[in-house]
Symmetry: C2
DNA sequence: TGCAGGTTGATGCAGTTGCATCTATATAGA
DNA sequence: TCTATATAGATGCAACTGCATCAACCTGCA
């Protein structure tokens, strides 16, 4: 393991940070202007909709890479906002199951086209299909092991 | 501009967010364990070292993509920590010039090998040189205009 | 020159994050 | 069964971020 960084690796590192920052902040700015849900809220709701039988917070934590204490409070806010429902978990008294409420489903649905548009604009439109595929593949390698 | 997101674009978007998160948080964990400077501190110092004649905060803001209010306070903390020196700007009484102190230079230098190792480990070693080059090129396209 | 509008940087405040720690419950093993 | 250890989730506190706004200063133009 070297203490030297090649120029190539350095460039990839810097650009990974910057490109993500550029894309995410552009998308979030668009979302904010449209007055729709923040990305994390969207992601949580989307996960809950795909798992209709209820989701334990720790599952969400693993799938969406949240810090435990952040997720705990995010869920509180979403419950407060009426988008998520918390139900005591019958099989584990420490925990609870989470469900999207109707309002949550509705809000997510209304949010979706804004994200689609923004992601297309700030990411999809800047690359050809082949390039996008390649990018996803390379990023995937960074996520392995 | 479509309200539909292709699977490919979606995958690239998700992985951009996750890969950056995975790499950055792994690198920061290593840095924290080693007790060296946080990345933003490193970046600021590095920029100051490369511009020996002093840097205006707004330049730093543009080059390193900081929010103005965050940078303002980050600089205060770094001045407080003795790593950065603030000098009234002779040509513009609103602003000041920033310089790295000797302690700042020393801290940055001590930090460097840890980042190099961590970035190699969490990014460089996961891709071939050609792949890294390609990744940097594709990410670069996301940063254009 | 004098003023309108822009730029630089700071800051009060509310909301969020990170860390450490706590409680309650579950589970594995003596 | 009883205990030790692990896991799920919450929370107090300090630090940080985002927003809005401010004061000071600069610049261009009438």
């Amino acid at each position: 393991m070297s203490d030297k960084l090649s120029d190539t690796v350095t460039r990839a590192w810097v650009r990974l940070v910057r490109a993500r920052h550029a894309v995410v902040s552009a998308v979030e700015t668009d979302a904010k202007e449209a007055g729709v849900l923040p990305v994390e809220w969207y992601d949580v709701l989307w996960d809950l909709e795909r798992h209709e039988d209820g989701v334990r917070p720790f599952e969400l934590e693993q799938r969406l890479l949240f810090a435990q204490y952040n997720l705990s409070r995010l869920i509180d806010r979403m419950v407060e906002a009426g988008l998520v429902k918390k139900v005591a978990c019958p099989s584990d008294k420490r925990g609870h199951m989470l469900f999207a409420t109707d309002a949550g489903r509705k809000a997510r649905k209304a949010t979706w086209p804004h994200y689609a548009r923004a992601v297309n604009k700030h990411l999809g439109d800047k690359l050809t299909d082949v390039e996008t595929e390649k990018l996803a593949a390379l990023l995937g390698k960074l996520l392995e092991k």
